[in-house]
């Protein structure tokens, strides 16, 4: 299957996106912000369809809107859990609605919508691969600087604030990184299935190991394995890639939840 250029591109794109998703997703799950990522991807849908309407590549529309929404969420501050749920739910439906409106005006074939909603990793070209690598590297560099105060602030916000961690700046910067990671992830799994790569591997890793160092590595390894596994399976079965990635992601999590798996994993660790 590596004889075809589009497959080589697909594997490279999935690899880049999976590394980023595994890392960023670990902190999202730790901070209880999984649904923030989900909402950002929906915001991105409106951005991507809006960009298509304007004749701009959808990635730019995606990035512009997810980052803007991420910053707004970060600066908006921490409300109550209930308030946050309502806000995220409203943003979700409102932006999907706008996405639908833009699609309506586009009047192009429905494949574009399907590609955005469920991903089209087989359509990634060389230029897109370059952008994915560039933004991926930028996010990794940002996480290398941010991860230490972010971990402290995620576990004990009050104590971190007392020791001089700028809470709001750290959480806003992280949401901006989540936004970029989400926009990248949409290229592989589509808007509706970003959970498969961003939350699934991270949640599985947190079930299997109680150390953040090992957890992050495991989350990244799982994301890459599930992404590449999904590609290979879709090659052999001729089913959509995103279906296999989401299936593998769910399967891995369910296996990790089986009684006894955790204990054995801990003994080995």
């Amino acid at each position: 299957m590596f004889a075809f250029e589009f497959m080589r591109h697909a594997f490279a794109a999935t690899g880049i996106v999976a590394v980023l998703s595994g890392l960023v997703g670990y902190f999202m799950v730790l901070r209880g912000e999984s649904f923030a990522g989900h909402a950002l991807s929906h915001v991105g849908f409106a951005g991507a369809t809006g960009a298509l309407l304007l004749g701009v590549p959808p990635l730019w529309g995606l990035l512009a809107l997810t980052v803007a929404a991420g910053l707004a969420m970060g600066l908006g501050g921490r409300g109550t859990t209930q308030g946050r749920d309502v806000a995220i739910g409203l943003v979700l439906s409102c932006t999907l609605g706008f996405g639908l409106l833009f699609l309506h005006f586009l009047t192009t074939s429905a494949t574009r919508a399907t590609a955005l909603l469920f991903g089209n990793v087989l359509g990634v070209d060389g230029a897109m691969l370059g952008w994915l690598a560039l933004f991926g590297a930028a996010c990794l560099a940002a996480m290398a600087v941010l991860s230490r105060p972010l971990l402290f602030a995620s576990l004990q916000p009050e104590a971190a604030e007392a020791r001089g961690v700028p809470l709001r700046a750290v959480s806003t910067a992280f949401l901006a990184i989540v936004a970029v990671a989400t926009a990248e992830c949409v290229q592989v799994t589509g808007v509706l299935l970003v959970f498969a790569l961003m939350v699934g591997p991270a949640a599985t890793a947190q079930r299997l190991t109680a150390s953040p160092g090992r957890g992050i590595v495991l989350s990244v390894v799982l994301a890459v394995a599930e992404g590449w596994g999904g590609l290979a399976l879709s090659w052999w079965t001729d089913c959509p890639t995103s279906f296999w990635i989401s299936a593998l992601s769910t399967l891995a999590y369910l296996l990790a939840c089986l009684p006894g798996v955790r204990g054995r994993a801990r003994l080995r660790a």
């Binding site: 730790l30 209880g32 290398a144 600087v145 941010l146 991860s147 230490r148 105060p149 971990l151 402290f152 602030a153 995620s154 576990l155 004990q156 009050e158 104590a159 971190a160 604030e161 007392a162 020791r163 001089g164 961690v165 947190q206 079930r207 109680a210 150390s211 953040p212 160092g213 957890g215």
Partner: protein, 281 residues
């Protein structure tokens, strides 16, 4: 790692501009301090001095501002008027002389082990990678510091267990260990007895007192009920209605003083070595 080191340097420079602490600078000193939060006055024109190595119980009605007072000492809540100083220096964020144990809200407990939880607090304010990603001398040094605080709170055996499997008392010990990271000279403990049974409460009070004596550090310990602290605390600090009163238990926990602080007639009854504060109805 280098980024983090630079930041510490900058932090010390910032502190260096402040007057150097005198040998007898008290751990906490309020000089006619006023604290306001959202238009509500927590403290008004309050003056008091906490002495070196003292165990001070912080009491007062719910919502009187025990947490706000601690956050003001940490430099998070601004001082509206007057001055609060810590070891002779005006309060400021990121003061490494203070260890802070916040109230443990019903937050989702992370699926991490105790060691990682404490390690996250170690230089957690620096930029860079988490400390268990370090290597060489740094990593050994950091691991030794985590071991030290775990031993201090007698929780070495809890280090490898996931926090969500621990009991409330065991979690409190890890939170206390986290506050001791970096060798602070003043401990601010916010309601460490909340949601503990009487046995657990006695254990936490005894542990804090042991650590205080061993390290010679001052402790501010807020609580709802002063009885668990009787015989252990040197002084009691009552906060209420914008006023604060610090002194020996026998002088402060009296009907007239508490009536003024609570703003309602209060009777203080001593029986069987315990003190009961009863609102007079």
């Amino acid at each position: 790692m280098t980024v983090g080191d630079d930041l510490t340097g900058a932090c010390c420079d910032a502190a260096g501009r402040m007057p150097p602490p005198g040998p007898a600078a008290p751990p906490v000193r309020l000089d006619r301090a006023t604290i306001r939060i959202g238009g509500r006055t927590i403290l008004s024109d309050a003056s008091l001095t906490v002495s070196e190595g003292a165990f001070v119980g912080v009491l007062g009605p719910n919502g009187a501002g025990k947490t706000s007072l601690m956050r003001a000492i940490l430099g998070i809540v601004p001082v509206a008027a007057g001055e609060i100083s810590v070891f002779g220096r005006p309060v400021g964020r990121g003061n490494h002389d203070i260890g802070y144990m916040p109230q443990f809200h019903g937050r989702v407990v992370p699926r991490l082990d105790g060691r990682s939880f404490i390690a996250a607090a170690l230089h957690g304010e620096r930029w860079g990678l988490p400390c268990d990603w370090g290597w060489g001398r740094h990593r050994r040094h950091d691991a030794a510091e985590v071991d030290r605080v775990l031993a201090l709170v007698r929780a070495t055996h809890l280090a490898e267990r996931p926090i969500h499997q621990l009991s409330g008392g065991e979690r409190q010990r890890l939170l206390l260990a986290q506050a001791l990271v970096g060798r602070p000279r003043l401990l601010l403990l916010d309601e460490p007895l909340a949601s503990l049974d009487p046995h657990g409460q006695r254990a936490v009070v005894a542990l804090v007192n042991d650590i205080r004596r061993q390290l010679g550090i001052a402790v501010l310990f807020s609580t709802h009920d002063l009885n668990p602290l009787l015989g252990v605390m040197d002084e009691v600090l009552y906060v209420g209605r914008g006023a604060a009163r610090l002194g020996p238990v026998d002088e402060v926990a009296t009907g007239p003083v508490l009536s003024a602080l609570y703003g309602t007639p209060v009777e203080v009854i001593r029986a069987g070595g315990r003190i009961f504060v009863v609102a007079d109805t």
